[in-house]
Amino acid sequence: MSDVVIRTKNLGKQYVLGDGGLWRRTVHAPMRDAWGWTRPAGTRPTCAAETNLIWALKGVSFDVRRGEVLGVIGRNGSGKSTLLKILSRITPPTTGSAQLVGRVGSLLEVGTGFHPDLTGRDNIYMNGAVLGMTKHEIDRQFDAIVTFAEIETFLDTPVKRYSSGMHMRLAFSVAAHLKADILLVDEVLAVGDAAFQQKCLSKMDDVSREGRTVLLVSHNIASILNLCNTAILLDAGEVVASGNVQDVVDHYLSGSIAIQGETRIRSHETGRAEQELSLQAIRIRDGQGRVTGSIDAVHGCTVEMDYVVHREIRGGQVSMELWNGEGICVLCTTDLDHCPESKSTARLPGAYRVSCRLDPTWFRAGRYWISLGASVPGLRTLDEAPHAISFEVVDTGSVEHKLAQGRRGIIAPTIKWTATSLSTVNT
């Protein structure tokens, strides 16, 4: 008998955009769900009103063998989470089928079922039960969970009095002790502090060594490379690559799928009759000058911004903020930084392009956002484009990649150390 423990065939999921007419929404849809079951969903006749349908997932077929750790990668909206929701039985597929052998544990979120008024102790039981653990299992693992989360002294304190770090550690800890033959994990490692993340990563590593099958959805290419042996790449709901994790990641990064590295900024209503300046576009170029949505931490990138000045402005500046995936502003820079003395020079009407280079070694792997703004400091905002563009930094060869040890810090510059020998021990 084969060793396949997950098999999906032609899995598809269709969503209706908007909510249709009043009749469809209030009467037709629930009644169809209730009594239209004799026909499989895919064969339902579609009518004109159902034209705004999208396939979040389409014709997805793959097999996963026992003990395999499969990474699912793809950009936002490519159907990764939908796939996980179908396999976790949260939502049914529209077409196709899936089979899973053995006990399934799904971690779409950490801390599901936590109640702020309950104590840490109670929440361990509550969360464990929600994840599908039996009371007996939780009893047996209780001490391990508490030790792992490092919350011994706060066990009988309501969770609402916890710091966010403690809350997160407790939630992770319960999840990490879930025993299942198949684990479905969604981006849960994207949160929590770095040291604890590393602890969870090694715990996950143990999991796969014990012969459990893991399906891991993540944005973090570095953790996919570390943990998985095979991967599938989803784009617009379809599997575009599968196989060895390195090949799939290379495929993902090679730009063979549409990479969004440019945003056209629609003119904002600033509330004033005539706008003096409007931001037009922002794009990210990689080391070779190609417009791309994912850059590597070796070659860095250039950020390019276009704006139009409609009327002469004095004292204005264009600024950019770089935010990381945890919502921390990494840096802020303006086009006057290198020449502060020219801040009151007039900007004449016309279209302009400015660009700046971001040093590659600053970045840690992950997702970043850039917010744009133009203002006359202290006086008025000319235009703004919050979170105008996002891009991903892929760690392919930085120091942290070579010396994986779960470092802290928002930036990861390579700093030169010097060593001087003070004395030598003569033997």
Binding site: V5, P92, S97, Q99, R103, D117
Partner: protein
């Protein structure tokens, strides 16, 4: 092929799709298909998840009187204050007949099953919406949610029942042998409440209008039920039809089990049983048929 170990995610509701028959991973594999669950298969899933049912009920109970000063006393205060208000306005000022029973006792004996019903109905219909963070993140048989929401109503009933017993002793009312039938009437009350609650919760997750309608429907239902007045006030020709409201039979039955007397007519009870079981079975059916889409519409 490993046997699915204890508890969760046992292969269940396996509507084996014809498509996957050819390369099935074995009979004990969990099958996920587009077909909605058949309403009756997969009920044993409910048994596999009984511990979650227990934990959810336990959570609701534990959180219920959290950070209150009076705590569980609220379960006594609510029916008692209602009883006092009704006794003053209807019993004393309104002189509403109470079939020879002291009016406070007359009202309280009906208020308890009524509040059990009203609480179960209202918490069941809101249960899915208030637990949607669970529904969109983990799988479990969705029926667990409305069922676990019944716990609070039951516990409150149990506590308030002690007050009723105290009042019976105060008025020197002898305990009659037919009191043993009382649990059956409670069961009828809860079946009815869960029946309408299942309908309301499954519709409420899609259209929040239901949430607005429930308190108002409960209020109308209250006046259609002989809580503050005896059913003898209702014209005799309507009596047979009065059973359409199962709560009328519940209230009449409770009073009969405590105080004896004529009680309701047999035909009324039969009609109530029919209505109640229809509500319950159709609610269960509708809920099971639509439960797979809850996460999508929540």
């Amino acid at each position: 092929m490993p046997q699915a170990s204890s508890g969760i995610a046992n292969p269940s509701s396996a509507v084996v799709n014809a498509l996957s028959d050819c390369d099935s991973l074995g009979a004990d594999a969990l099958h996920i298909t587009p077909l909605p669950h058949h309403p009756l298969t997969g009920l044993r899933d409910l048994w596999a998840y009984r511990e979650l049912l227990y934990f959810l009920a336990w959570r609701d109970l534990k959180v219920r009187y959290h950070q209150t000063i009076l705590g569980v006393l609220w379960a006594v205060l609510k029916p008692c204050s209602m009883m006092i208000v009704f006794s003053v306005f209807f019993g004393w000022f309104g002189r509403i007949p109470s079939d020879g029973i002291p009016y406070p006792l007359f009202v309280l004996s009906a208020l308890l099953p009524w509040q059990l019903f009203a609480h179960t109905f209202s918490s069941a219909s809101h249960s899915l919406v208030s637990n949607q963070h669970l529904i969109t993140k983990v799988y479990f048989p969705r029926l667990i949610i409305p069922i676990s929401s019944m716990a609070i109503g039951l516990v409150d009933f149990g506590i308030a029942f002690l007050v009723l017993v105290a009042l019976l002793m105060y008025y020197h009312i002898p305990i009659l042998p037919q009191i043993v039938t009382m649990p059956a009437f409670m069961f009828l009350s809860m079946t009815t409440a869960l029946g309408v609650g299942l309908w309301a919760s499954a519709l409420n997750i899609r259209h929040r209008d239901i949430g607005h309608a429930v308190p108002f429907v409960t209020q109308l239902w209250f006046f259609a039920t002989p809580v503050a007045y005896p059913s003898s006030l209702v014209p005799a020709s309507w009596h047979a039809w009065y059973g359409i409201n199962p709560m009328a039979s519940v209230v009449e039955g409770c009073r009969w089990s405590l105080f004896g007397g004529g009680g309701g007519e047999g035909s009324m009870l039969v009609l109530s049983l029919l209505v109640s079981s229809t509500l319950f079975l159709s609610g269960l059916y509708f809920f099971r048929r639509t439960e797979q889409t809850f996460a999508d519409v929540a």
